[in-house]
């Protein structure tokens, strides 16, 4: 097909390869910086591989060295524990993805299949909320969290998105509408009730979209910054993004602690990278707007 287009094809591949390099190289530089002793960095080292590769930056952001040693390696010596932040991030995004996907699947099923008065109105109101930018509800939600006394607690962090987002409800309803009714009708005749239908028949049939929405929710909540910054800035409840922000502010006065920051950054990438390696095909193929109307 491209027999007459060889040179064009070569150029196209060169462009694609360039795009790939531009995408990946900054991450390589992140790792490279994280493995460099701070002293080398400030001496202006720009070789592709650090001359004296070291793990000290990882050890100090994981809180494995004492303050004096951390200061010697270019840190501020302040208490920092990325292991805990990683764990908090996992709890935060994992619990939100799990509970939210399940609750929204229940609602999506009711909106798609059950018949009762007020159903379409309720759905319309929820979809209308897609239009409200998060910052608008974030201000009063912060006040609410403060009044409930859940600032700097895990429940305070997860609650606003634990049960639902309008998008997940919308997405799953559209999917449930698209599956053929025959299977459910056969089960109905056998006397399966709505709950049995949802739990034993519809959910197992919907693994693909459920994983899609679950994965997307994990990724977005993994990246969350503003809400956790307001509600979970305390040491106990810091997620990775907030931990990085706090660490940045603690930088010793002369310049940011780049080697430490890049070590912390690497830690914020590894878990999602693992997700991509194990579920990459699923994730890549699920990015599709064509089915949404």
């Amino acid at each position: 097909m491209f027999a007459n287009l060889r040179p064009g094809r070569v150029v196209a591949w060169i462009i694609l390869t360039t795009a790939l390099v531009l995408t990946i190289f900054p991450f390589y530089w992140m790792v490279r910086t994280a493995l460099t002793p701070a002293a080398d960095l400030y001496a202006g080292s720009t070789s592709l591989w650090p001359d004296h590769a070291t793990l000290i930056n990882f050890r100090r952001v994981l809180g494995l060295v004492d303050a004096a040693e951390a200061r010697a390696a270019g840190g501020s010596g302040a208490q920092i524990n990325f292991l805990r932040y990683t764990l908090n991030s996992m709890i935060y995004s994992g619990s939100i993805a799990l509970v939210q996907t399940f609750c929204c699947a229940m609602a999506g099923y009711a909106f798609a299949r059950l018949r009762f008065p007020g159903r379409d109105l309720a759905f319309g109101i929820i979809v209308a909320a897609l239009m409200v930018p998060p910052i608008f509800t974030l201000l009063p939600n912060f006040v609410l969290a403060k009044q409930l006394g859940v600032l700097n607690t895990i429940p305070g962090l997860v609650l606003p998105s634990l049960l639902m987002t309008p998008f997940a409800v919308f997405f799953l309803r559209q999917f449930f509408l698209s599956i053929p009714r025959e299977v459910e009708e056969a089960a109905l005749l056998e006397g399966v009730g709505p709950w049995g239908m949802f739990w034993r028949i519809v959910l197992p049939m919907s693994r693909g979209p459920l994983i899609t929405i679950g994965l997307t929710t994990i990724v977005w909540s993994w990246k969350d910054y503003l809400w956790p910054l307001l509600v979970g800035k305390g040491e106990e409840t810091r997620v990775l993004t907030v931990g990085l922000g706090v660490f940045l502010q603690q930088s010793p006065n002369r310049a940011p602690d780049w080697t430490g920051l890049m070590a912390g950054s690497v830690l914020s990438v590894i878990p999602v990278l693992l997700l991509l390696i194990f579920l990459g095909k699923r994730l890549v193929e699920s990015l599709n707007f064509s089915g949404l109307k």
């Binding site: 097909m1 064009g8 196209a12 694609l16 790939l20 995408t23 990946i24 530089w29 910086t33 960095l41 202006g44 609750c103 229940m106 609602a107 009711a110 909106f111 018949r115 009762f116 008065p117 309720a122 929820i126 909320a129 409200v132 930018p133 910052i135 608008f136 509800t137 201000l139 009063p140 939600n141 609410l144 606003p160 049960l163 309008p166 409800v169 009708e185 109905l188 709505p194 990724v219 993994w222 990246k223 910054y225 503003l226 993004t241 990085l244 922000g245 940045l248 940011p256 780049w258 920051l261 890049m262 914020s268 990438v269 990278l273 991509l276 095909k281 193929e285 990015l287 707007f289 064509s290």
Partner: protein
């Protein structure tokens, strides 16, 4: 069948909806009403909100910082959306005509998986005026502190982060285009560029429009990047975007009422833009059907 269909699932229906309705009431509906109310009050987080009518909105009209925030956000959105969409379209078209590789697509998706905070830090480092690798490579000293360069840089950094993701969405749309169209065009001697213009582009228009709407709404919400590239300090005026301005008003100066009023303006701006774009989307149904 019709007998079963006519059942009324009233009780079980609302039971299925219970968690979602509860979450919606408490964390979406209630705060929306409260947000509108705050925008009409003087509220510092410490006192009780007191009703002041349209005062916050009147103050807004004369607030240069607010207009500046709106202006720089608009500038950001234009640079970000234009560069990101054009690059993504190009990448998607190349992938579509060259390869189905999952590994390649997964690799292009990596920046999307990474928190914007990390991306901001990484590029603040790469663009460090003294030690940054990009500045070293290009022999330049630009950074997020250069007034003329700051905003384009922030926009390009985020385009870098989201181009792969956008390209994958467009690529998925291109896969829907029937292959035989390309085959017959190729027999007729059409060039690749010609095929892209006359086949691919018209047929993915609806998806392109949807991607544009969604990424534009997302683009207005730029916050994380400018919040970290200044080392945790406030951004320079050239990059003090609307989200940051709201955040600053609410949590640095404790002008909760005023912050809510600014957020209201953002709601209206986004509402109008979405409406206009959706109208255009409807007017541009795919030529495929």
């Amino acid at each position: 069948m019709t007998v079963v269909r006519r059942r009324d699932d009233r009780r079980v229906g609302w039971l299925f909806l219970l968690p979602v309705i509860a979450g919606f009431q408490i964390f979406y509906a209630y705060p929306t009403v409260r947000g509108v109310w705050y925008s009409l009050t003087d509220y510092s987080l410490l006192n009780e909100p007191t009703f002041v009518g349209g005062d916050n909105y009147r103050k807004l009209i004369g607030d240069e910082q607010f207009w500046n925030a709106l202006k720089v956000t608009g500038y950001y959105v234009v640079v970000n959306i234009v560069s990101q969409t054009l690059l993504a379209l190009g990448l998607a078209a190349l992938m579509h005509r060259l390869t189905r590789s999952v590994v390649l697509r997964a690799a292009l998706l990596v920046p999307w998986l990474v928190p914007n905070v990390t991306i901001g830090l990484l590029w603040a480092w790469l663009l460090d005026p003294d030690l940054g690798f990009v500045n070293h490579l290009l022999g330049t000293t630009v950074s997020f502190n250069s007034p003329n360069w700051a905003m384009p840089l922030v926009a390009l950094v985020n385009s870098w982060a989201y181009t792969g993701y956008t390209a994958l969405l467009l690529y998925a749309g291109m896969l829907q285009v029937p292959q035989h169209l390309y085959e017959s065009a190729s027999i007729d001697g059409a060039s690749e560029v010609r095929m892209f213009r006359s086949i691919t582009l018209p047929l993915i228009r609806p998806i392109l429009a949807l991607v544009l709407v969604v990424s534009m709404i997302g683009s207005f919400q730029i916050f994380d990047t400018v919040a970290v590239v200044y080392g945790g300090k406030a951004p320079i005026p050239e990059t003090r975007v609307i989200y940051y301005y709201i955040y600053q008003q609410a949590f640095t100066y404790f002008h909760m009422g005023y912050a809510a009023a600014v957020a209201m303006v953002l709601v209206v701006v986004l509402g109008v833009l979405t409406f206009v774009q959706l109208r255009m989307l409807r007017a541009s149904r795919s030529d495929l059907t």
